[in-house]
């Protein structure tokens, strides 16, 4: 009898340890998502991770239940707020309750203010990207669902008209995103009629490039002002250039 009890005890212990161990293991090796879209006013990702105390006050403040706290499987980001536009986009509240509620400035009022007044249109949660292979408007079929619902219609999301050479009598009505204006609210992703949305919000730092200072848009008035004070004295090593040109590969 004593023996049977011992065996039972051992069995229970082994099963419990194995279950707990495998749970920790799967959580450690699996991550839900590598990139998370942050609430309006969030600082850049590394600064944000350093500043967010993971209190969820922003989540609580959002009247549309847009924001969620990341779960265990989000690695170091666990407990930080994010949103999934396809489920619930950000409704761009004018009083930005999520930012106002943040106690640590991880959501920074300054980043969503103009002249000291809150201005939600300055939010840059991400940027909408259109997959022109899946967007049926680019097939020539009439759909402007995303364009119609964009809170910044004709500013962030515009329609471009183009002749459809295939039918020779119809027009393409093509949605085009203006990256300078798009807030990344995700309403377009939410309403896109395709099965897997043809327009998606991506984190800005992943999508956007940057151009060297020395490229100037000569046709934009005042753009050359950027060159003021820039060191234009570029030192080229002539020998290096010669070597390069004489290199066997060329």
């Amino acid at each position: 009898m004593q023996n049977r009890r011992e065996v039972l005890k051992f069995g229970l212990k082994a099963v419990a340890l194995a279950a707990a161990g495998s749970f920790v293991w799967t959580k450690a090796v699996k991550a839900d998502k590598l990139v998370l879209l942050r609430p309006p006013g969030a600082k850049n990702e590394s600064e944000f991770l350093a500043s967010c105390i993971r209190c969820g006050l922003c989540v609580e403040a959002c009247p549309f239940d847009t924001l969620k706290l990341a779960t265990l499987s989000s690695g170091v980001a666990n407990g930080t707020p994010h949103f999934t536009p396809r489920e619930t986009p950000c409704k761009l509240c004018e009083d930005i309750p999520c930012v106002v509620a943040c106690p640590t400035n991880a959501l920074d009022k300054i980043l969503v203010s103009t002249n000291g007044e809150l201005d939600i249109n300055k939010a840059r949660m991400g940027v909408a990207m259109i997959d022109t292979h899946s967007c049926i408007a680019y097939w020539g079929i009439r759909c402007d669902a995303c364009y119609r619902d964009c809170p910044l219609i004709d500013k962030a999301l515009k329609l471009e008209y183009r002749r459809n050479e295939r039918t020779a009598k119809h027009a393409f009505l093509l949605p085009v995103v203006d990256m300078d204006v798009c807030t990344g609210c995700g309403v377009c992703e939410r309403v896109c009629i395709t099965q897997n949305p043809a327009i998606k919000i991506m984190p800005r730092d992943i999508v956007m490039g940057s151009v060297d200072q020395n490229y100037v848009k000569g046709w934009v008035e005042g753009d050359e002002k950027r060159l003021e004070g820039v060191d234009t004295n570029i030192k080229l090593d002539i020998n290096k250039a010669k070597d390069y040109l004489n290199d066997g590969e060329l």
Binding site: K9, A20, L49, A50, I53, C55, L72, N105
Partner: protein, 264 residues
């Protein structure tokens, strides 16, 4: 039993206050144990979390700094590690694990892991150093205390798995392992409350040396004077749970105000 009841009530009521406020729109106590807003007016914050944020180089708002200082002062003057015994929800489950271990007869099993008692202080130090080096609040990124309290407060079903792991660890891997050896937050509060005022005091003249208190205590090293001399529990690793008072039949233990001057 009386103090234990009070303790459970406080621990659970705090969680309930958070849950009803967050989910039913009451403005009582919003947020979670990392930072919260009382009546929508007063901000509280976890001083250890804030310390990590600051070391990580965050420029945080003033309200949260004041909130963390208030909380730190509160815990520094009341009782040692009052957070652990009276607020932290992890304590509910590590206590449960200790109970289960005893009830199911695992208490004589060898532990699978042997750690020095000081592990938590080394972890605490490492966390502070790495928070600065990596510009990341290192403990908050992996904190089981954060996961459990957030999981309960925001009603995330996954919290059950985390709780299960904690119970299994404390039952089979290292008895009282989480709160007694590993948790850097507990270590932080132990250091913070070095000079706190409310302490357990022991009266040798009433003690009949049954050692029940030593068996009940989650940090028995703090009761080294029991049966030898009267006095206060000066070691701030005591979590002020009052278990020793509950189990003592001879009234030899009680909470009282420590006299710091006399100790000098």
């Amino acid at each position: 039993m009386k103090i234990l009841l009070f303790r459970r009530l406080t621990q659970i009521l705090i969680l309930v206050a958070f849950i009803v406020s967050n989910h039913y729109g009451l403005k009582l106590l919003l947020g979670d144990l990392s930072a919260s807003s009382l009546f929508g007016a007063i901000t509280f914050a976890d001083p250890f979390a804030l310390l990590q944020l600051i070391l990580a180089g965050a420029s945080v708002g003033m309200s949260v700094i004041i909130g963390a200082v208030i909380v730190a002062i509160l815990y520094a003057v009341i009782a040692p590690r009052a957070f652990c015994a009276w607020v932290c929800p992890v304590n509910l489950f590590t206590d449960m694990a200790a109970k289960l271990r005893e009830k199911l007869g695992f208490n004589k099993d060898a532990k699978l892991l042997n750690l020095p008692k000081n592990t938590r202080y080394y972890l605490l130090l490492a966390i502070l150093v790495f928070s600065a080096l990596l510009s990341l609040p290192v403990f908050e990124s992996v904190s089981f205390v954060g996961m459990v309290q957030r999981g309960i407060i925001y009603l995330d079903i996954f919290v059950l798995a985390a709780i299960f792991v904690i119970i299994v660890f404390d039952m089979f891997v290292l008895p009282r392992g989480i709160c007694g050896y590993i948790c850097p937050l507990g270590a932080f509060y132990a250091l913070l409350s070095k000079f706190s005022l409310i302490r357990i005091s022991h009266d040798l003249s009433k003690c009949n040396k049954c050692a029940k208190c030593l068996k009940a205590c989650p940090e028995p090293q703090v009761l080294s004077m029991v049966g030898h001399k009267s006095g206060f529990v000066t070691n701030s690793e005591c979590i002020s749970c009052g278990r020793c008072i509950d189990v003592c039949n001879d009234d030899a233990m009680k909470f009282s105000i420590r006299n710091l001057k006399e100790e000098r």
